[in-house]
Subunit: 346 residues, 2 copies
Amino acid sequence: MATIREVAAVAGVSRSTVSLVLNDSPLVKAETREHVLSVIKEMKYVPNNNARSLSNKIMNSLGVIILSEQGDDEPDGFKRETGLYSSGILNGISDGLADTDYSVVIERYNVKKSGGELPKLIRTRRVDGAFVIGSLYDREFIDKMKQSGIPFCVVGVGLPETEYDVVWASPEEGVFLSVKHLMEEGHQNLCLVNCPETFISHEDRVRGIREAEKKLGLRFDWNMAVSTESNTGEGGYQAIRKIWESGYRPDGIVTANAHIALGIMRYFHEHNVRVPQDVSIVAYEDNALCDYAYPALTAINIQKKLCGIKAAEVMLERLECIGKPYSVVKVEPYLIKRNSVKTRND
Amino acid sequence: MATIREVAAVAGVSRSTVSLVLNDSPLVKAETREHVLSVIKEMKYVPNNNARSLSNKIMNSLGVIILSEQGDDEPDGFKRETGLYSSGILNGISDGLADTDYSVVIERYNVKKSGGELPKLIRTRRVDGAFVIGSLYDREFIDKMKQSGIPFCVVGVGLPETEYDVVWASPEEGVFLSVKHLMEEGHQNLCLVNCPETFISHEDRVRGIREAEKKLGLRFDWNMAVSTESNTGEGGYQAIRKIWESGYRPDGIVTANAHIALGIMRYFHEHNVRVPQDVSIVAYEDNALCDYAYPALTAINIQKKLCGIKAAEVMLERLECIGKPYSVVKVEPYLIKRNSVKTRND
DNA sequence: CTGAAAGCGCTTACAG
DNA sequence: CTGAAAGCGCTTACAG
């Protein structure tokens, strides 16, 4: 590998000059710059990032901390969670950073198992900033992250905060959109299968229903709001069983995610309830599961990739100006119609 | 941040000594080591990785190159591919490296769009080694990677080679296992819905059938082997349509992936063919889609996470001993029974 | 077993 | 606009 020294030698300038053109300094005459650049290209010179970082304290790396849960991807059947969630966001971040000099380094991190230690990425200060993906964090984690002094952006989930950057899609709006669609297609007797109460988004969804009551004139029977034990197919299956066995017969169901929706579908399959003829379903967090289900699930798409791209933008701005006020950018969810909602024409 | 200098000062030793204990050198007296270690802990000293790398040429980073395709995750419905593939492997790699000092940096890379340029990770020499995930590579890419001098390991797919390390699950074995299961459950009239012919695994699957002919006495009608246009639901749908419209009526179908299997299921749903009563299906690359399908798909699980873990091991060994012969480790696929295959008891 | 010294390849005031 | 020099925080022969 060529060094800056050699480049300087063949270009007939000092190392400083090469360094200045490398760093787009305005101090270099255009002519000189062009010349140096051509030599660099010719020699296929690429600066040593370690030397650079050592001297300027910029790592040129951004971390992605993927909050994971115990047994995240164990193959334990219908109950399992999947790694679907983070990949769209990760792709977005990666794409959003593709034209920069930042490399993206990932770390899976389990808040509960961490014993209070921050992710290695942060502790060893290998990154200039970090993205936090996933909802499995708590106050304490956030506090420690702040103490680290490394800027971070929470993406995909979370509540609007003012103590850090966040890019998210609001479950409240997702629920609202779901209800709106169901009502427009003539449904009146809705049911909400919410996530477990322990999740921060639980309340957010309840607000979505309230909004619909207010703005759309929804008449909602709160006995029709249930929470799952877990965000899984099994969770959805059991939740709808409770509803069904209690004798309730909603004509439209709003769910908290795709797995839950599929669990509900399974219950219906087994009990000869037809979707969408007898009951309609809207899923949340549209993904391949919705697409490939039968019937294909009408779903709220929360634009995960776009969330990632926006997060990259927010981070880049943050690094540009470390003291600027925190951003809260909302990414609008949209509804994608497939075949799990009975329409007025059906 | 404390530096090695300060640690040395409070420990009352020279910087070299601190460095030596940092690097587990046997040159340091046990007593001294303990003392230095305790000071390090107390001061919460963490070595500057850039300084370290600058001097010893070790990056302490491993790259994951995720081969992606144009429009990888565009939301264009039933035809789309998903990011499901790489995440299991990525998790495995990440876990396999969790107890080391390596950080893992990812880069999405499109061979076709690269214009012959290697991934930035490689060009800028930011990593000590790289994992290559995905089947979208060609001879030229491999050659260039080899020229870079950075060791790499192809994981998840590929053919046994001797010019680089590879960790993979053999589609041949997957097909063989599928056929074996179907035959054991009394199926005789099998159909293979293979991937597009352009994929390297296409031939491998054909070999799987041949093996079954030889070892299991399968009688296979080669008119019942079709290839999809793409590895998608749409691909599977169209492929089985061709078969069905030709009048063939297999009693068991072996597929090249889960999306294809689900496309086939959709065709059957629409044509009132019952799974598994009328025809059985075995999917490949078990994932959440199989689990949540209705009926849940019996599938070949290729242990992606394990592939990742093994790849991490292979890489660690490679870095330990750069000249050792290339490894080809096969990860055994296994069949997971769900409800898409009619059993003898049914 | 330990210390003094050179060197890794950059950046960045500072002089000119 | 350009060059000489110090410094970033480590590692690694080399002496001792």
